[in-house]
Subunit: 319 residues, 2 copies
Amino acid sequence: MRYVLIIALTIVASAFGRGLHAQDPLPSWNDGKTKQSIIDFVKNVTTEGSPKFVPAEDRVATFDNDGTLWCEKPLIQGLFAFYLAKKMIDKKPALKEKQPYKAIAANDMAYLKTLSEQDLIKLVVATHTGMTAGEFDKSAAAFFATAKSPSGKAIAELVYKPQVELLQYLRANGFKTFICSGGDIDFMRPVTQLYYGIPPEQVIGTKFKYVYKDSAGINDLVRMPSMLSFNDKQEKPVNIQYHIGKRPILACGNEGGAGDIYMLRFSQGNQYSSLQLIVNHDDKDRETYYQEKDNKSLDWAKKYNWTVISMKDDWKTIF
Amino acid sequence: MRYVLIIALTIVASAFGRGLHAQDPLPSWNDGKTKQSIIDFVKNVTTEGSPKFVPAEDRVATFDNDGTLWCEKPLIQGLFAFYLAKKMIDKKPALKEKQPYKAIAANDMAYLKTLSEQDLIKLVVATHTGMTAGEFDKSAAAFFATAKSPSGKAIAELVYKPQVELLQYLRANGFKTFICSGGDIDFMRPVTQLYYGIPPEQVIGTKFKYVYKDSAGINDLVRMPSMLSFNDKQEKPVNIQYHIGKRPILACGNEGGAGDIYMLRFSQGNQYSSLQLIVNHDDKDRETYYQEKDNKSLDWAKKYNWTVISMKDDWKTIF
């Protein structure tokens, strides 16, 4: 009996061991320099005794969201602003007489594509405020449950599969994964656990001013029409400090608006070994091809020795 | 062989079961209504099938710090401000000619006790800003390593033992524990893991404005002389929302300055069963006796059915 047990256990353990080694932690990534540099980094920081070893509590990874974890063309929060604007028009039809509400009501995408960043921010302020946090949360959840992109995809289908694998791989190696996005913090929270395995308390984003109200049957926060922090560019290190109080050892952003370069520099100032990743939108067939006019993100990547992820070459599958 | 194994396992399981039941999770708390209400609450929210069951991911607990987890008379961050002021005087002796620096240099506690809240805030702004986050962190760590209270105690000895047990008990039951304090967020972070088992990313506090600088050999955040958020009263629910994105099911504060009543009300607006605790500083022999002039916190406790923790009656040991 004892021998049978030992033999059985040996077989199980050996199968398990082979399984672990044989399994590719990043199956949607093509083999090559980029994938290898990620795997080498994770191996180094998790190997006790290695000069690059990092204690588990300091294995912090921060990821931008738009263009890094899910696509930003179309901008999903822009779709949400249109969704909310339509609800506003339902309540107050006179809104339809002025732009951009007129174009939103008519699904006039040609017009909407001409909106400047300032126009979009104005629309976001108008649609994202003047309600309680509870009401906003319900609207966001309803949006994610029903919305489609202009090409007819559900929002969940706009998530980059290789990045979900990377997040899982990092967590399996003791990392704590955070989102650090220019998107509204409470817009993302209803789906970050489901889409990325990241709980609401590990989401950092743009913040509107909140005022606490405990009267007239309301016990909630009211969303005020002014931004407390637009979590982009130099504000990313600021909000990482407030929220985490530690520098990330891995930071991942994307080229497109140079919004992540300071987050990557902040990570690079870590006392520990660190890795900076920047997603390049260079795949016109499977995603959208776009490059910064001044090439700032990729120039900094070269200057500071960051790893550029080519969507075209490094990702076997994108969605 | 099989029977021997089953018998052995039965003995082990039974001993383990007895051990678990026999052990008091809150040994520094006296038996009574308060302790029982905490234990009952934890049992209800963790028992699957109970109408009060709360999924683990929503078991969020927030604790004030000053007067709730460690003492606030003396105010430990006040001691740190004096510590930093002395370093400033060392560098610039002329400071000693004006108050409150004169009194700080002379250890004139009689004078320092007369400082108003506004005077203290002014001193905190002057001493806590104008350096990088890295420099501030080092100063805080050095303070905690060497400082003594006016009565000669190390800072670690000013922590309330029953509260450390309560935090451990909650975590053992799947809770995620957070600090939500009026103290400077980055002042507390070097010791929250050691003192309370709470990591830096689960600390919410008062925030000074940060500006990211990446030039002249500095890659860090600079602490600016203006407060972004004084995390007290109605600002506590606001910052809990920003930081956690969920209402706590357990919130614990203290009477003294009515700083925690809105955090407790916010917790009470939870969709789940929730518990509100308020520490009463009613033990003149073992701690310091002080009550609010208008009795606001204890009045609200009565009105809203919060559990009052009497330091005198409910705590067997305080430090």
